[in-house]
């Protein structure tokens, strides 16, 4: 029997400073003799990244943000002994400075709807008892005791759930195909090979609520008629692997996995297979090759995996997020799930909101919410003085949606129509200091390394697109480059072997579609309006605005700015490396970005070109 505590301290953000925070909390509680009364629980991700580490104290639901080690004694003294909230650690509305003590009321959370992430950060992911206490395994019990596989599939179909890995294939139909496929041996597989830069939805899920994935997979196994499930996790997620492993062990102990699950006669087991970190292994056929122990390379998929997948047997592969959606659907019914979202995209979707917003983090929103709601209400809008320029969705193979289209509802069809895609849920917000050529170049550079190299269009095409993009951003673009880029992108999109190759040109095509004039400016005017492509820009002091404060002189790493106090300063264009340090520090907007051609440069050409800086800052 579990021990009883009067309070729980839930500590999130285990990838930051939380481990020290946990030990400090435990020490402090020990010191004050409260170890038997208050339990410190290490939980999964709460998603509120800028405010981490965050602490929730139950049962009163006090939500502390940005907790430092030094705050620990105060928290214990004030909250856990005296029962009062420490005001300065509570979340304050940035605009009004109003204190919001409970996290439900924080706009970052209030606009969200957490179905998949329901338990992330709320329970101890290592404890099966806590999962069961919040209603876990009810769905499996219901399915095994009162439903036939056909009924389960019908319920999933009714829910309208679609694959959360990106392509959005109807989950129920996939299950039905697998169930009806000929063959004794079948498999269900969870895809946890999340490789998009800046995406961590699946990671948060596997780390924070591993039982939900196991339960979903077990229900799926029952529905399609198999005894074996696999979870393919990238090895860069050691905590996910560890939590899933211990969850599988516990589930075995509780009779929720193994032979005769819950006494129903249904046998099911799950194995974890660790991936070696190739982005392409998130592609279904490459993933299955990798599962078989071969090199993770895609195969031509004229025959679906539901007929011939892993080891040429019918296989049902879904993203971990899809699997985690299954238990709530079974519990509350497909109709409930279908009531959320839009006509064709049902339920909620987890996103990793990153980039130029005030509150980046892990979010889950109902389908059909507009991009603007996500960016402005949940994300808190752009940093002060900046404007949103575009939102990139769908990971490296997704596309950029311009600010003018921020009222676009987030669902599979709308995003695809806009030239992007849902993807697994990366969402990068970009402001006016982001160069779209550079963004395309960044993603293509990523894909250059992550293309498996099997098919010529993807391997060679990406390489050549990168060459052209690098040239354009280095000021070596020439007329006609855009057209070549377009024809390359079209060929790669049409003729590549797998999804990676087919979607690889999306960053180029979507930026070309919405920001063509920016490309043209790079080539024709040799200028990067966003001030990112260093070879094309120069910094100049606007004499009228400069008050001669000297801040820029101190900031310049090249000692390239001169001037006397209270007199307009000047930048030595020969020494300048276009790092932008002066631009960042100037409080008077007295430094401006101008085309390189607008300034006189020293005899050596002095362009001091260095590789363009990191894009996502």
């Amino acid at each position: 029997m579990a021990e009883l505590y009067r309070a729980d301290v839930l500590v999130s953000c285990l990838h930051g400073r939380s481990p020290e925070l946990v030990s400090a909390l435990k020490q402090e509680l020990d010191r004050r003799g409260l170890a038997g009364e208050v339990k410190v629980v290490e939980t999964g991700c709460r998603g509120f990244c800028t405010m981490g580490p965050v602490l929730t104290i139950q049962p009163n639901g006090i939500f502390y943000t940005d907790v430092q080690l030094a705050d620990v004694p105060e928290i214990v003294e004030e909250t856990l002994v005296k029962g009062r909230a420490v005001q300065r650690l509570l979340y304050k509305e940035p605009a009004t400075r109003k204190v919001i003590p409970n996290y439900d009321a924080i706009p970052f959370y209030s606009k969200q709807m957490r179905i998949v992430l329901r338990n992330c950060g709320m329970i101890d992911p290592q404890s099966i008892d806590e999962y069961i206490a919040v209603g876990g395994y009810e769905a499996l019990g219901k399915v095994l005791s009162s439903m036939t596989p056909e009924q389960v599939i019908a319920e999933v179909q009714k829910s309208g759930l679609r694959g959360r890995g990106g392509a959005g294939f109807a989950t129920g139909r996939k299950w039905e195909h697998t169930r009806k496929a000929a063959g004794e041996v079948k498999y269900v597989i969870a895809n946890g090979d999340e490789g998009d830069p800046g995406a961590f939805m699946d990671r948060a899920l596997m780390e924070g609520d591993p039982y939900a994935v196991l339960e979903g997979l077990t229900i799926g196994g029952f529905a399609v008629g198999t005894q074996q499930g696999y979870i393919y996790v990238r090895d860069e997620y050691p905590l996910a692997v560890q939590n899933l492993r211990s969850a599988i062990d516990r589930a075995h102990e509780y009779g929720l996995l193994g032979s005769d699950v819950l006494g129903s006669g249904f046998d099911f087991d799950i194995r974890i297979v660790r991936g070696a970190g190739a982005f392409v292994c998130g592609e279904s056929s490459a993933l299955m090759q990798s599962l078989e122990g071969k090199v993770g390379e895609p195969r031509a998929k004229h025959v679906h995996a539901t007929d011939r997948g892993l080891w040429d047997r019918p296989s049902c592969l879904n993203n971990v997020e899809t699997w985690a959606n299954i238990p709530p659907i079974m519990n509350k019914g497909g109709e409930w799930f279908a009531s959320i979202g839009t006509e064709r995209s049902k339920g909620t979707k987890a996103f990793c909101l990153v980039g130029k917003v005030r509150n980046p983090g892990l979010i889950e929103v109902p389908m059909g919410i507009t991009l603007r709601e996500i960016v402005d209400d949940i994300g808190g809008g752009p940093p002060k003085g900046r404007e949103i320029k575009a939102v990139q969705t769908g990971g490296p193979s997704g596309g950029c949606i311009p600010a003018s289209m921020l009222d676009l509802p987030v669902d599979y069809e709308s995003l695809t129509e806009a030239g992007s895609m849902m993807g697994s849920g990366g969402m990068i917000v970009m402001d006016d200091r982001t160069c779209m050529v550079d963004i395309a170049r960044y993603f293509i550079d990523f894909l250059k390394d992550e293309s498996c190299g099997k098919c010529s269009t993807c391997r060679e095409g990406i390489k050549r697109m990168l060459e052209i993009l690098t040239n354009i951003s280095a000021g070596l673009g020439k007329p006609g480059d855009i057209e070549v880029l377009e024809s390359l992108a079209k060929t790669v999109q049409l003729a590549s072997l797998c999804g990676l190759g087919k979607s690889a040109p999306n960053p180029v095509l979507s930026t070309l579609h919405y920001f063509r004039e920016e490309y043209e400016k790079h080539i024709a005017e040799q200028f990067c309006p966003a001030g990112v492509c260093r070879a094309l820009i120069a910094y100049q002091v606007v004499a009228e605005k400069c008050k001669g404060c000297g801040l820029c002189i101190k900031a310049c790493p090249q000692e390239g700015i001169s001037g006397t106090a209270r007199q307009p300063h000047a930048i030595d264009q020969v020494k300048c490396i276009q790092c932008g340090a002066c631009f960042e520090v100037c409080r008077l907007d007295a430094i401006q970005v101008v085309p390189r051609s607008a300034v006189t440069v020293g005899s050596n050409g002095g362009n001091g070109y260095k590789p363009v800086r990191e894009v996502v800052r």
Partner: protein, 616 residues
């Protein structure tokens, strides 16, 4: 097998289910370019060149023809503007990667690209990463040497860690499937990649250009599949099989085995020929230590127009030789090898000297002991070769030494000069002896043949019966009987054939009635007689458990009769009783009744000795 109907470029085609679009198109004469496709290997879809527009259920999309199954109702466009456009871009990409590969240049030109549209990084790059070599090495040969490493633009093909590996069997399958000629097999000086310098080049080959019937054979020692079978004691046979898969006539049958035919014949001509003597047995000639020391037979292959050099006489490194030495009597007329003269070497050595002079103009040194130019026109040829400038050194070539420079030093005694002489040459031809086949003793016991001390089969009489043997109906032809040159062999063989025909023409054989027979009542089945019979005339009848004499073969020599421990064998018309009776008869002097005369018996009528006379 069900049938499907699809349309390719407007042509409605009905095919059996289970083929790919590419296969169907090619069978119907529709050209689709490919680089990574090979009919014997799994389609891979890497080069993307075979993209075609496929319209299915109203949806049009591009797919590679090599991987797309030919489904019912497909509409395929192999040359639409979109397809051509995409292929053109692909060709541009490939040409920029490998600018100097002829097949890529040709294909690119077909799509109007004459120069690489993108910057060329490495003009020597020939590999397009099509994966054919990887597939053939892993799926067919199962040597598992080649594979891809690296990802994306860093992808490359090679053995593990790009290092030499002993796993490579040097089969060359990768080079033969490579569409761009990017793989080269490099022969190592020694070890795994060593190929026989003048051996067959592939596991399937036509034995000679004049072979009858002119069909290829599989060398089971080199064939990957047979070698795998050997390794696994015949358990697995799934390696390679490319020949079977590709043979349109379906003529390859791996299960074919040697057959044993039982024939009833009236005469047998033994023409089992000879073997070349192994020159490594005399180590002073350094055979095998340099590729330029070759035997006379290897020289024949080298000089043959169908040979590896197309008939040119070249050294192993491809240069023309400047000096050649021919050493006679290697293994012949030698107390350490064969004492006999091999008869043919003198003349073939002279012919080869003539060929070297004629084809290369190189100096030729003939180290000979005696020149045996005994046939018609032979002496004249000898004279002619001498006139051609061949240097004759009378004396056995004693030693061949491989110099560090790769040259060969031949030393020997010039008996005419009474001096030791040496010559540094580029090539040495050893005129090796011919000897009886290694299994001659088995053949001999099979046919009841005798063998002369030199190992060849013995004829019935060296002068009077040169083609017959001691076994009736078995004749000898050619070198089975002893070393012979071509005219002698032809004559000998003609004689043997005539003898056999004469026997058959008569239709019957006359045998001597004085032959052995076994009294089966007394035969103890000890089989002593069988092993002793010089004519293999006695067989053992298992059913009756007795030895029985083949009356047609028995010559009535009586060996068995004398040997039989049970006394069960008797020679007909030469029985013990008859012999004893004769002996008895010999000693019995008839009692001559003396008539009433006084004439004494003349001396001449008396028994030969006085003693016997006395005894009587």
């Amino acid at each position: 097998m069900s049938w499907v109907t699809l349309t390719i470029d407007g042509q409605t085609i009905q095919v059996e289910e289970g083929k790919t679009v590419l296969e169907v198109a090619r069978e119907n004469g529709i050209h689709i370019p490919t680089l990574c496709y090979h009919p014997a290997l799994e389609p891979y879809g890497a080069c993307r060149l075979c993209v075609v527009e496929i319209i299915r259920k109203g949806w049009s999309s591009l797919h590679t023809a090599c991987t797309h199954p030919a489904w019912d109702g497909l509409e395929v466009k192999t040359n639409s503007p979109l397809v051509r456009d995409v292929r053109k871009t692909i060709m541009g990409l490939l040409l920029s990667r490998c600018p100097n590969v002829p097949i890529i240049q040709e294909l690119a030109a077909e799509y109007g690209i004459t120069a690489p549209p993108f910057p060329v990084e490495d003009p020597t790059e020939n590999c397009i990463l099509c994966g054919l070599c990887v597939r053939v090495c892993n799926d067919m040969v199962q040597a598992h040497v080649l594979n891809f490493s690296g990802r994306g633009v860093k992808r490359q093909v090679g053995p593990p860690f790009m290092e030499k590996t002993r796993q490579c069997i040097g089969c060359g399958a990768c080079t033969s499937v490579c569409p761009t000629g990017a793989i080269e097999i490099v022969l190592e000086e020694a070890g795994v990649y060593q190929a026989k310098p003048l051996g067959p080049t592939a596991a399937i080959y036509v034995p000679t250009l004049q072979a009858v019937p002119r069909v290829p054979v599989i060398d089971t020692d080199s064939c990957i599949r047979f070698r795998q079978q050997d390794r696994t004691n015949g358990a697995i046979a799934d390696a390679c099989g490319a020949c079977q898969m590709l043979c349109e006539a379906n003529a390859i049958d791996f299960d074919q085995e040697d057959e044993f035919l039982d024939l009833d014949v009236g005469a047998i001509v033994v023409a089992t020929g000879f073997e070349m003597w192994d020159a490594t047995k005399l180590s002073q000639y350094s055979y095998g230590k340099s590729p330029n020391i070759i035997t006379g037979l290897e020289f024949e292959r080298l000089s043959n127009a169908g040979g590896p050099t197309g008939g040119e006489i070249l050294l192993a490194d491809g240069r023309k030789p400047e000096r050649v030495a021919v050493i006679h009597c290697v293994g012949s007329r030698d107390h350490n090898a064969h004492e006999y003269c091999s008869r043919i070497c003198c003349m073939y050595s002279l012919k080869q000297a003539h060929l070297v002079r004629d084809k290369t103009g190189a100096e030729v040194y003939e180290f000979y002991m005696d020149m045996r130019a005994f046939g018609k026109g032979y002496e004249e040829f000898y004279e002619r070769v001498q006139e051609e400038g061949v240097v004759m050194v009378r004396g056995r070539g004693a030693e061949v030494e491989v110099l560090p420079s790769g040259k060969l030093r031949v030393t020997g005694e010039d008996a005419n000069l009474g001096k030791l002489v040496a010559a540094d040459v580029d090539m040495v031809v050893l005129s090796t002896a011919i000897e009886a086949p290694h299994d001659a003793s088995e053949v001999a016991s099979l046919f009841g043949l005798g063998r002369t001390p030199d190992g060849f089969f013995a004829e019935a009489h060296p002068k009077l019966r040169p083609v017959e043997t001691n076994t009736d109906g078995v004749f000898l032809a050619g070198c089975a009987q002893g070393p012979k040159d071509v005219p002698d062999t032809v004559a000998h063989a003609g004689a043997a054939a005539s003898m056999a025909l004469a026997l058959l023409g008569k239709g019957e054989v006359t045998i001597s009635p004085a032959i052995a027979y076994v009294d089966e009542q007394f035969c103890s089945a000890c089989k002593t007689c069988i092993s002793l019979c010089p004519y293999t005339a006695i067989g053992f009848v298992e059913a009756d458990n007795v030895a029985r004499v083949n009356e047609a073969l028995c010559k009535g020599c009586g060996t068995c009769v004398a040997t039989c421990p049970a006394g069960a064998i008797t020679a007909r018309h030469f029985t013990d009783a008859q012999i004893l009776a004769q002996i008895e008869g010999l000693f019995r002097i008839p009692v001559i009744e003396i008539p009433n005369t006084q004439y004494p018996i003349p001396d001449t009528q008396l028994p030969p000795t006085k003693e016997s006379n006395h005894e009587r």
